[in-house]
Amino acid sequence: MTPRARTPYTIRLFSMMQRGHWIALGAFLAATLVVVPILNLVVPEGSAFHVSAYAITLVGKIMCYAMVAVAMDLIWGFGGILSLGHGLFFALGGYAFGMYLMRQIGRDGSYQSDLPDFMVFLDWKGLPWYWSGSDSFLWVSLLVVAVPAIVAFVFGYFAFRSRIKGVYFSIITQALTYAAMLLFFRNETGFGGNNGFTDFKRILGYSITAPETRLVLFGLTALLLAATLLFARWLTTSKFGRVLTAIRDAESRVMFIGYNPLWYKLTIWTISAVLCGIAGALYVPQVGIINPSEMSPANSIEIAIWVAVGGRGTLIGPVVGAFVVNLAKSWFTVSFPEYWLFFLGLLFIVVTLLLPQGLVGLWQAIREKVQNTRAGHATPGEK
């Protein structure tokens, strides 16, 4: 046991990840911020190296999902709280930013009105009060963060204070997102009913379909995914993170050594919701639509499956899971659309039964085995 001295903050920040991980992160950013834009804009369309707009939108979308998966892992993998309502926070962020995109359409809609088309269709004469300020990019950016945060904080405060845990908590979150979906389906709610928001034209005055705009959104998503991973890494390696996993493993002990689990759970819950909201805001301009089906219970369950497939309690696992499941989904829904849900269910069962640590756990087990065999060959005669 050597006594541990206090180390400067910058050094602690860099030492929170191994060098290999920093290099991987750098490679990821170089690929998404430099290589992909060149392959898309400079390399001609016929070339084998050309990256299509379709691929960029697909990967951009999946990176948004990956952010949600990391957020889910913080609350589930590290905090031991399974939310089946995270789609709600994603959709709230998406709707908040969608309001701005709707206002950016201006008079270019089908009815040439200052109001969004669906409001004209409903014969509304003016914007509802909660749409005020929605033409300001800064204001909606604030909403993207604040709305999920407030909803999560209020809901979480009452749920955690009442010491609702385990499957009961999961069911209530599921009910919450379902109730929100029904609310958003109504035309009177003022968010476009079951059609939601679509037909976006501009963002900050730039055409939303222009290749450059698409690449900027793609790059921004990559940056924020990287930032989310770093932030999550910092959070889980702090003392806060250790208390969080301690709550997951033995909550009563945590209470009896003087921590109030309520505030720890509420903090990570709210952080997780905000990350989902930001992901939703990045998702909407890239995909071009947001509607209440994003809040459907099945969507939220799928988020949990990404995390389980990739590996709970590891930060890279959820990213891997989000990519593997969604790439499989986009292939399946084209080739065998009717079998996708069966495959998803099968995948979940296989992972739950055979791979409790997910794909990352499998990878680690294989690597260990290979290393052991090598060590065995290197030193024959020794066990």
């Binding site: 702090s238 033995a250 720890y264």
Partner: protein
């Protein structure tokens, strides 16, 4: 009543308990001017009509080492639940020193004022190392905003190292606690208790599953803690109780049956009936 108080009332926070809202905790000073650290007065707890505690009266002196014995279902664990805020009594009062009403505080608040508890089954953080277990238990500001930026100072590290030596886990410091032996887990939990710097220690069957050697070392540790700390030990192992040498309280059906030194209690006719009669 100010608007903040009204708001707190609506969301169910007692305005007299600012610490619940994460604000600086109201100073609660332990007053042991009458040389008594714990008063349990007329406490009754019933679960679905079954009286786990029935008008229990118990006082623990400051610096005392008290053993509680009694058959299964006598109410020993429920008594600890009442003292640590896990269970609220139906009637009766529980005071820590002269002034602090335990029935109004939450579990973390009770931990902060200096009551530490060891569970019957060793309850430690399996995924964390022994070192981290002690780090988390260490007496400090345990609010979220401090934990986010907390770093260990050199003195903190020394204190943890010292505790690890005391509980003989210095060689296991960086092993996940889940891999320790049962006896080592018991010791680790005792070590976590000590890191909290409690004034009163509640120990529920601390030597269960320990070897004889470990049991005797535990007894020595507890005896050395008495005087500067007050200890309440629930135990079935009579050799261990004898080694501790303090006053013994016998619980039966939720109330005190007998109290005195071990020899007196063992010769009490009612005690013999309860333990041996059936």
């Amino acid at each position: 009543m100010g608007s903040r108080d009204v708001l707190r009332k609506i969301i169910g926070i007692d305005p007299d308990e600012p610490s619940k809202f994460g604000f600086a905790s109201k100073q609660r000073v332990l007053d042991i001017s009458h040389n008594v650290i714990l008063y349990l007065d007329d406490i009754t707890v019933s679960f679905d009509g079954f009286k786990a505690l029935n008008k229990l009266n118990l006082t623990i002196d400051a610096g005392e080492l008290r053993c509680i014995i009694g058959p299964n279902g006598a109410g020993k664990t429920t008594m600890m639940d009442v003292i640590t805020g896990k269970t609220r009594p139906d009637t009766g009062s529980a005071y820590f020193g002269q002034t602090i009403d335990l029935t109004r505080l939450t579990e973390p608040e009770i931990a902060h004022i200096g009551i530490g508890r060891k569970f019957q089954k060793p309850t430690i953080f399996d995924q964390h190392t022994a070192f981290e277990n002690l780090e988390l238990a260490m007496k400090t500001d345990k609010r979220v905003r401090r934990s986010l930026v907390a770093t260990l100072s050199g003195e903190d590290g020394d204190r943890i190292a010292e505790a690890l030596r005391l509980i003989r886990l210095d060689r296991e410091a960086d092993r996940p606690a889940g891999l320790l032996s049962h006896g080592q887990k018991q010791w680790l939990e005792i070590g976590m208790l000590l890191m909290q710097e409690p004034k009163l220690l509640l120990l529920d069957e601390p030597v269960a599953g320990m070897t004889d050697d470990e049991t005797m070392r535990t007894a020595e540790l507890f005896v050395s803690l008495a005087g500067t700390h007050s200890l309440v030990v629930v135990e079935h192992d009579m050799a261990f109780v004898e080694k501790l040498g303090g006053k013994v309280t016998v619980l039966h059906e939720g109330s005190v049956l007998a109290e005195g030194d071990l020899a007196t209690v063992q010769n009490d006719q009612r005690v013999i009936e309860v333990y041996l009669g059936r």
